[in-house]
Amino acid sequence: MPSFSMDNMVSILPEMIVLSLALAVLMFDLALPKDEKRYLAYFSVAGLAIAGYQTMNLAGLQLDTFYGMFVLDGYAIFFKVLFYIAAAIAILISIGYVKGQEMDKGEYYALILFATAGMMVMASGADLISIYLGLELMALSVYILAGFMRGSMKSNEAALKYFLLGAFSSGILLYGIAIIYGVTGTTNLAGIAAFIQSGQYSGPALTLAMILLVAGFGFKVAAVPFHMWVPDVYEGAPTSVTAFMSVGPKAAGFAAFLRVFTTALPGIQPDWTVIIASLAIMSMLIGNVVAISQTNIKRMLAYSSIAHAGYAMVGFVSGGMQGVSSVMMYLFIYMFMNLGAFGMVVMLRKDGVAGEELKDFAGLAKKNRTAALLMMVFMFSLAGIPPTAGFMGKFYVFMAAIDAGFTWLAIIGVMMSAVSAYFYLRVIMYMYMKEPEGEFELAAPLSLKLAMAVAVLGVLYIGMAPAGLIDFARISIAGMM
């Protein structure tokens, strides 16, 4: 067991930066007048950029610190970079939106940063307890964010629903952790793996604990059958929060999910493979099929988010270097395209209110060519049509599945992709092939434009030159596999 040393401080440097940033935002909030809160956003983005720079400086290190509770490895760094970009884009999307929705408070940005810190701890956790701590920090921040639109019934309902179900799922997760501790006598991931490897225990309790963990993490990544909260919360929460929620916590959930199952539970891999494979199938099926009948674009994207969790889990099931790196790449790509899609929903206002219905997009191409073009790129990417990044992501996931012998999973995934083409295409159809009704109003401050530019460049660049990201993902997990 490593002793306490300076390594400990180095390994949590990124978390320290983000947490100090969050506290600084809270302090500056007091000094800033009511209409100037946007400076907090710029400050946060700049801070995230510094954190990103510092984190990249740590690349290549392999630190096992805090008595095995916390690791800094390539895998954690990959996800941290993902979280910084997700948080920065989400903050840029928010600036204009929070003003319009009367939720222009400094705490908003601080909460996003706290959630980001929580996600970072989840990605670095090497012990079930530290992972749980990170998860709760993230979850509590996001519960509040979901209800940030205090005047809106829907937002309140979303927050309460999310909180109740989230608390319940955390309980289930804790229960699983407790059983694992009872069986193995440790919560350390490596320790659990070693215990299972030694073959001292072969009873059903371990399987039960594994199922409980799947339920806990499955809730966070929005996989069927733990998805009931998703449509309502995504619809009710402020759109900018939904954007953040659909990529950040989902990716963090996968980061912890993958690490726990591949490092602590490889001994019972056949058991969890079956369960996660069935979760993947159900998520792809229900997510895509139910999305067809949605008329509210936020709900449609909610079901699409469920479906995408399913695709990512196909890579998860495939396992190995290919499988894990395909999930990482998929989440990275999903971050760009989904933030882009939600950013467009944030941008669109119709007759003075937020345009969240599918029909609000009708005729957008006539009114604003650039906006329609951007939304089109994001929709094609979500549908997985080249030359966008979404295609590369799906391609890698399905390739990993076929390589690992899960051809049938890839076949189901492909069939569901064909189904999904219909509802993504429908948005494009509305924008380009219908006549506009009512007054369009595009609330696009410079910050939102910047965020969309980053997202669309990410989608197109990764779509055409994915080699860099693939290598980044593969090198990141070289030490873990």
Binding site: I385, I402, M415, A418, Y432, P466
Partner: protein, 518 residues
């Protein structure tokens, strides 16, 4: 990278690069002009190889271009030009230039975006015909759907949105299965050879287990067959053709359908010699059914565009038969017929578009006695109709004859049945000619004969119809070598009836076993 590779690269990428300024210009006129210049440039570029380099390299290609693209997956940016792809590339360039010309007056709404889509489409079609890396091929194949979706959905007529979505979903579904098969083949090859690659030449040497091969070929076949289209997965075609703007119909019929047949010739059969041999009865059956069934339905059509659309399915049935027979004669016939069909059917769609622009209807019964009103237009129409029904001396005759002769060598009875199918073609096309061109005039409405622009579109088409009909060697010459190279490996498997590789290389089989069971 020499000048020859530069030409290949330019063929593929010049249109898409030019598409960006086209989208940005404010006026439709400028957009049209740029598009015309670019497509004309492409046509000139595609004709250069005919004049300058027809000497094949030792590996059979005229030009090759290999650039590393995504090394982590073994994906290369590989283009290759041989006689077959050269013909298809030239046809592509030719039909795209005509598409710009036929849209000159017809497309006034959002003209820059229309030409943007056309140019993106040209890049994709060129890419499909020139790629020799399966991943790259799939990429172009899939992107192709996007501009077509817009061409139909935005500038079409009638139930355009319905047709556009139907077209997209049908072909997208088909090609996703092909994607799985491509990945499957890639994985099998990788586990055998230890080198993961999507290169066509390397994948040809893969030893695929017979049972796996059947699945993989079936998936490829579905992907290609939806595009061809083969009965019974053709139902997107009449809707898409009917509701597309004229340029869209020309590209659909002239090029998109050809990508399916081309895919079978370039990828489907050569990659799976054994599995494809096993499927030949099925392919022959769907081919012959297509010939008859589509002809029968074409006879019942009142809408001229729909009639021509169904005639496409019927004609492509012959192409499929020629591919399934897989000998040098039938295959040469199929490739020739792919070009011929592109020219003739493209011309018919253009003419129907011209009639539609004048009368605002495509209903056969609304026309009659056209010859007395517009003799120039009628003469061209008649020429293309008799070309389509295979009049000796015109282009389709040469292609169909080669297909039937090649088919007769392998399956005499089937050839006889297919030959009788030509009679069906005769019936519905002659009915079209008779009702529209002759008889009493249906209306007294004013009817203009051809404008100079329209004549300029039709004259080159007519010249090609006659020249290819009289001297098909100009097209068969370039494709002889490549076809010979394609036929021999597959034919060897067909005649041997067994798997020669398995006998000579037991070690390879063992490797395949390991690869097959993960």
């Amino acid at each position: 990278m020499g000048i020859r590779q530069g030409i290949l690269l330019a063929l593929v990428f010049v249109p898409v690069l030019a598409a960006i300024p086209v989208l940005l210009v404010p006026s439709g006129r400028a957009a049209r002009l740029i598009a015309l210049i670019i497509t004309a440039f492409e046509l000139a570029l595609s004709l250069v190889p005919f004049a300058v380099f027809m000497q094949p390299r030792p590996d059979g290609w005229l030009v090759r271009l290999d650039l590393s693209w995504i090394p982590a997956f073994g994906i290369n940016f590989s283009l290759g030009l041989d006689g077959i792809s050269l013909l298809m590339a030239a046809l592509t360039a030719f039909l795209f230039m005509l598409s710009v010309l036929v849209s000159w007056d017809a497309i006034r709404d959002k003209s820059p975006m229309f030409h943007f889509m056309l140019l993106v489409m040209e890049t994709c079609v060129m890419g499909v015909f020139l790629s020799t890396d399966l991943f790259l091929f799939y990429l172009f194949w899939e992107v192709m759907l996007v501009p077509m979706f817009f061409l139909i959905g935005v500038w079409g007529h009638g139930r355009k949105v319905y047709s556009a979505v139907k077209f997209f979903v049908y072909t997208f579904t088909g090609s996703l299965f092909m994607l799985l098969a491509i990945i499957g083949l890639y994985v099998i090859h990788g586990s055998q050879a230890g080198e993961y690659t999507f290169a066509l030449e390397a994948l040809k040497s893969t030893h695929v287990e017979p049972a796996t091969g059947l699945w993989l070929f079936a998936a490829f076949f579905i992907g290609f067959a939806v595009k061809v289209p083969v009965f019974p997965i053709h139902s997107w075609l009449p809707d898409a053709h009917t509701d597309a703007p004229t340029a869209g119909s020309v590209i659909l019929a002239g090029l998109l359908l050809k990508t399916g047949a081309y895919g079978l010739i370039r990828f489907g059969f050569p990659l799976f010699p054994e599995a494809s041999a096993a499927y030949i009865p099925v392919i022959l059956a769907v081919g012959i059914i297509g010939v008859y069934y589509a002809a029968w339905i074409a006879y019942a059509q009142e809408d001229m565009k729909r009639l021509v659309a169904y005639s496409s399915i019927s004609h492509l049935g012959f192409v499929v038969l020629g591919i399934a027979a897989w000998n040098e004669v039938s295959l040469a016939g199929s490739v020739l017929q792919m070009v011929n069909h592109g020219i003739t059917t493209g011309a018919l769609f253009i003419m129907v578009g011209m009639l539609d622009e004048r009368m605002h209807t495509r209903d056969i019964s609304a026309f009659g006695g056209l010859w007395s009103k517009a003799p120039g237009l009628s003469a061209f129409f008649l020429l293309f109709i008799v070309s389509s029904l295979g009049l000796p001396g015109l282009n389709n005759f040469a292609g169909e004859l080669l297909i039937l002769v090649g088919l007769f060598k392998e399956y005499p009875y089937l050839a006889a049945a297919a030959f009788a199918g030509v009679v069906f073609t005769l019936i519905y096309l002659l009915r079209l000619a008779q009702k529209v061109l002759f008889g009493p005039p249906a209306t007294d409405a004013e009817f203009h004969d051809l404008s100079p622009r329209e004549a300029a579109i039709l004259v080159p088409l007519a010249i090609l119809v006659v020249v290819i009909g009289l001297y098909p060697r100009i097209l068969i010459g370039p494709i002889e070598g490549p076809i010979k190279a394609l036929v021999s490996p597959v034919a060897a498997v067909k005649t041997a009836g067994a798997t020669p590789q398995a006998a000579t290389a037991p070690a390879q089989t063992a490797a395949a076993d390991r690869g097959g069971t993960p």
